[in-house]
Amino acid sequence: MTRKGRRLTLIASMLVVLGAAAGLVLFAMRDSIVFFYGPTELAEKALSPGARLRIGGLVKDGSVQRGDNKSMTFVITDAKREVRVAYTGQVPDLFREGQGVVAEGVLVGPGEFRADSVLAKHDEKYMPREVADALKKQGVWNEGAPAPSASK
C-alpha cells in the first residue's frame, strides 16, 4: 500500500470510530438522561405525566406512610411546594423524615410521583448536592449551617 493509501486508511478509520462514538453519545443523550428538579421547580415546569425525573428535597415530617408489601408513600418538600411520592421496595439506611432524599421515577400527575428508586444521603454530614441547591434556592437552608433538622 502506498504512503498515501496508509494515511487515508488511518484517517478513514478515525472518522468511522469517532463518528460512531458521536452517534452513540447523541442517541444515548436523548433517551437515558434524567433531569433533576426540586418540588418548586417541578411545579413551575408543568411537565406532562410520564416524564422520567429525579425529585429531591426533604422528606416531610410525619408524611411517611407504610403499606403492605413494602409499599409506602411520603412527601418531598422544599418548604414551599410538595410532591407526593409512591414507592415500593426497600429504602436506604439513612432514609428518615426530615432528611434529604432523591427519588427517581415517573411523574404520574401534578405533584404526584411514582418512584422506582430512592436515594438518601450517605452520612449525617452530607446532603445530596442537588437537594442542597434546591433547598438553597428556596432559602430554606444555607451552606455551612446545620441541615434543617440535624439528627443530633
Partner: protein, 657 residues
C-alpha cells in the same frame, strides 16, 4: 512535639520541592552538570521529609492525640488498631498527604534508579515531578493541613465514618494512589522529553516500566474499590458509573492505551508525539479525578467534607498542569522527529486501532461524567447521566476492542497476515461458540449473557493461541514445548495473561445476567430456595461490637440437604455517628457467591433483606488480578528490567500494607 516535627518536615519538603523544581531545570538550560546533579539527592531528601511527616500524623492517630483537629474529626480511642492506621488516609487531609507521599516516593525511585539515564533527562524529569510536588504540598499546607491543633481538645473523637471502617480502606486508596500518582512519572517523562527536545526508543524503554507499574496498581486499585463497594454498600452492585469511579476509569483507559503505544515506540520508533500526548492525557485525567473527588462538584458515593476553597485551589493546579503541559506540547512537539505511517494490517496497525478505540471510549466516559456539570453551569438545568448512557455508548465501543485483541496479538510487526491470523484463531472462535452453546443450553437467559460468554471464551483461548503457535508444532514433543515455553520472553506470557484476564472479567460480567435476586422479609427459621441452594435463617439476634451494636441473621446455606456454608449478614449501628451500616453476608461457592444484605427491622421483628445468587461473579475480580499479574510478569521481563522496575516494585509495595 512529634506533631510539630511532622508539620515542620512538611514545610521543609515544600521548600526542597521548590528548589528541586528550579535548580535542575536551570541546569538543563545552562548545560550545567553540577546544577543538574542536585536533582537526585534533593528528591530523595524530599521523600524522607514527607515520609517523616506522614509518620508523625500516623503517630498522632495511634496515640489518639485529640489535640489535633484531624484526629478528633476522624478517630475514636476505641477504634480498632487497623482503622487507626488506615484512618490516617480515610479523610481529605490525610489522604492528600498519602498522595504527596507516593508522589515523593516515585520521585525518589526515579532518582535512585536513573543512573542509566542521560543526566539532563533525569534532571528534567525530577524537576517536573517537583513542580507537581510543590503544587500539592502548597495545597496541603494552605487549605488542608492535617497538623492543625485545637485550643481545647475534646476527650473523645468523632470516630471514622463507619462505612470506611473496613479492611478495604487499608488497601484500596494506597493501591489506587500508587496508580494515579504513578502516572505522574510518565507525565514528567513526557514533559522532560519536550523540554530536552529529543525522544527516541531508549526514552520509551525508560518510560515503559513506569507505565506498566502505574497501570498495574491502577488496575488493582480499581478492582479493589469495586469489590469494596460490592460488599460494603449492600446493593449487590460492583460498578455504578459513579463520577468518581469514572474518574479512575478514564486514566486507566488512557494508561492502557499508553502501555500499548509505548510498545510501538520502543519496537518501531514511531508514534512518538502520540505517546507523549497520551502520557500527558493520562496524568491530566488523574488530576481531573482528584479534582472531581475533592471539590464535590459532582454528587457521588465518595463524599469528603467539601470546602469550596479547596476545589478552586485544585482547579488552579489542574489548569496550570494540563494547560501548561499542553502548551509545552504545542510549542515543542513539532521539534520531535516523527516516525512513519505503517501498514494498516500489522501489529502496530492493530495497536493504533486499539489506541483509537480506547481513547474514544475514554472520551465517551469523559462526556458522560462532565456533561451534567457543563449543562448546569450553562443552563442551570440539573441532569443525571447514569448507567444506561454508559452502557449504550461505552459498551458498543469497547466490544470491537475485545474482538480485535487476540487478532492483533497474532499479527507480525511491519506487515501482518490477516487471513493467516484469523485462520489460527479458528480454535478460539470455536471455543466461543462452544461456550455459548453449552451455557446457553444449560442456563438459557438473556442473549447478552450468552454472547458475552462466547466472546469471553474466544478471548481467553485466543490470548494463548499465539504462545501455543510459538511453542508447539508438528513433531514437537512435550519436553521441547515446555522448554520453549520457559524460554519465551516473560512479556509474551504477560501479554497473554493480561489479555486472558480481560476475557475472564468479561465472563464474570456476562454471567450477571444469570443471577437471582430476591427481596424478602426474613424471620427466624425461614427457609427458601436461592438459585441452586437452599437457605435457612437460624435466628435473628443482637450482638454488641467494640464501637457498634449489631443485629445479625446467621444463615445456613444448604446444597442437597448438607450445610455447605454459613454466613452472618448484619446491620450495625455506630452510636458515635448515629449511623447504621450494612454488613453483607457473602459465601463464595465455587466461582459464584451467595450475597445477603439486611436492611430495616420491621415492627414484627422480621428483617428486610436482599438475597442474591451471583454465578461466576468472582471472575470479575479474578480477571482484574490476572491483568495485574500479566503486567507484573511483563515488568519482570529482562528487556524491561534495567534495574529500575524491579527495585521500584519492591519498594512501592510497602505502603500498601
Amino acid at each position: 512535639m512529634i506533631t510539630e516535627i511532622g508539620h515542620y518536615a512538611l514545610v521543609l519538603a515544600l521548600a526542597l520541592a521548590i528548589v528541586q523544581s528550579a535548580a535542575p531545570l536551570w541546569g538543563v538550560w545552562r548545560r550545567d552538570a553540577a546544577l543538574m546533579a542536585t536533582a537526585r539527592p534533593v528528591a530523595a531528601a524530599q521523600f524522607l521529609l514527607v515520609a517523616l511527616s506522614f509518620a508523625a500524623l500516623t503517630h498522632a492517630y495511634l496515640i489518639s492525640d485529640f489535640s489535633l483537629l484531624n484526629v478528633v474529626e476522624n478517630s475514636h480511642s476505641a477504634k480498632p488498631l487497623i482503622y487507626k492506621i488506615s484512618g490516617v488516609w480515610g479523610n481529605h487531609e490525610g489522604s492528600m498527604l498519602l498522595w504527596v507521599l507516593i508522589l515523593a516516593l516515585f520521585g525518589a525511585l526515579v532518582a535512585v534508579g536513573s543512573r542509566a539515564m542521560p543526566l539532563d533527562l533525569a534532571a528534567a524529569v525530577l524537576s517536573v515531578q517537583a513542580w507537581i510536588g510543590a503544587a500539592f504540598l502548597t495545597f496541603i499546607l494552605f487549605t488542608s493541613n492535617p497538623f492543625l491543633r485545637l485550643a481545647q481538645p475534646p476527650i473523645e473523637g468523632r470516630d471514622l465514618n463507619p462505612i470506611l471502617q473496613d479492611p478495604g480502606l487499608a488497601i484500596h486508596p494506597p493501591l489506587l494512589y500508587l496508580g494515579y500518582v504513578g502516572l505522574s512519572i510518565t507525565f514528567s517523562f513526557a514533559a522532560a522529553a519536550l523540554i530536552c527536545g529529543r525522544i527516541d526508543a531508549s526514552w520509551a524503554r525508560f518510560v515503559r516500566p513506569w507505565t506498566l507499574l502505574a497501570w498495574l496498581f491502577l488496575t488493582l486499585g480499581i478492582a479493589m474499590g469495586s469489590y469494596w463497594a460490592y460488599y460494603t454498600l449492600g446493593w449487590g452492585g460492583f460498578w455504578f458509573w459513579d463520577p468518581v469511579e469514572n474518574a479512575s476509569l478514564m486514566p486507566w483507559l488512557a494508561a492502557t492505551a499508553l502501555l500499548h503505544t509505548a510498545a510501538v515506540m520502543e519496537k518501531r520508533d514511531a508514534l512518538k508525539i502520540w505517546t507523549i500526548f497520551l502520557a500527558i492525557l493520562a496524568f491530566s485525567l488523574s488530576l481531573l479525578g482528584t479534582f472531581l473527588v475533592r471539590s464535590g462538584v459532582l454528587t457521588s458515593v465518595h463524599a469528603f467534607a467539601n470546602d469550596p476553597a479547596r476545589g478552586v485551589f485544585i482547579l488552579a493546579i489542574l489548569v496550570f498542569f494540563i494547560g501548561g503541559s499542553l502548551a509545552l506540547f504545542a510549542w515543542r512537539a513539532g521539534r520531535l522527529r516523527q516516525g512513519g505511517i505503517f501498514a494498516p494490517v500489522s501489529r502496530e496497525g492493530a495497536l493504533v486501532l486499539n489506541n483509537l478505540l480506547l481513547t474514544t471510549c475514554c472520551a465517551t466516559v469523559f462526556v458522560g461524567t462532565l456533561y451534567p456539570l457543563a449543562l448546569e453551569s450553562v443552563t442551570g438545568e440539573k441532569i443525571s447521566v447514569g448507567a444506561p448512557f454508559f452502557n449504550l455508548t461505552f459498551g458498543p465501543l469497547f466490544a470491537p476492542i475485545l474482538l480485535v485483541m487476540p487478532l492483533g496479538q497474532m499479527l507480525a510487526w511491519k506487515r501482518g497476515d490477516l487471513l493467516g491470523a484469523a485462520e489460527r484463531l479458528t480454535v478460539a472462535v470455536g471455543a466461543g461458540f462452544a461456550a455459548a452453546l453449552v451455557l446457553g443450553a444449560i442456563r438459557g437467559g438473556p442473549v447478552l449473557s450468552v454472547v458475552g460468554v462466547a466472546i469471553a471464551a474466544y478471548l481467553i483461548i485466543g490470548s494463548f493461541v499465539e504462545i501455543y503457535g510459538r511453542i508447539a508444532g508438528r513433531g514437537v514433543t512435550l519436553g521441547i514445548a515446555l522448554a520453549r515455553a520457559l524460554g519465551l520472553p516473560r512479556s509474551a506470557w504477560g501479554t497473554a495473561l493480561a489479555h486472558a484476564g480481560v476475557g475472564v472479567t468479561l465472563f464474570g460480567l456476562a454471567a450477571t445476567g444469570w443471577g437471582v435476586e430476591v427481596v424478602q422479609a426474613l424471620k427466624s427459621g425461614d427457609r427458601m430456595d436461592l438459585g441452586p441452594y437452599q437457605i435457612e435463617v437460624r435466628e435473628i439476634a443482637k450482638r454488641p461490637g467494640p464501637n457498634f451494636e449489631a443485629t445479625v441473621a446467621p444463615i445456613d446455606i444448604r446444597s442437597g440437604g448438607v450445610v455447605i456454608a454459613q454466613i452472618n449478614p448484619a446491620r450495625r449501628f455506630y452510636p458515635a455517628r448515629q449511623m447504621p451500616t450494612t454488613e453483607a453476608g457473602i459465601a463464595t461457592l465455587g466461582l459464584g457467591q451467595v450475597y445477603v444484605s439486611l436492611s430495616e427491622q420491621n415492627p414484627d421483628g422480621s428483617l428486610d433483606a436482599r438475597l442474591y445468587w451471583k454465578p461466576y461473579v468472582a471472575l470479575i475480580w479474578i480477571g482484574a488480578l490476572l491483568m495485574a499479574m500479566g503486567g507484573g510478569l511483563s515488568l519482570s521481563d529482562r528487556r524491561l528490567r534495567i534495574g529500575v522496575a524491579r527495585r521500584a516494585r519492591a519498594t512501592a509495595a510497602q505502603p500498601a500494607e
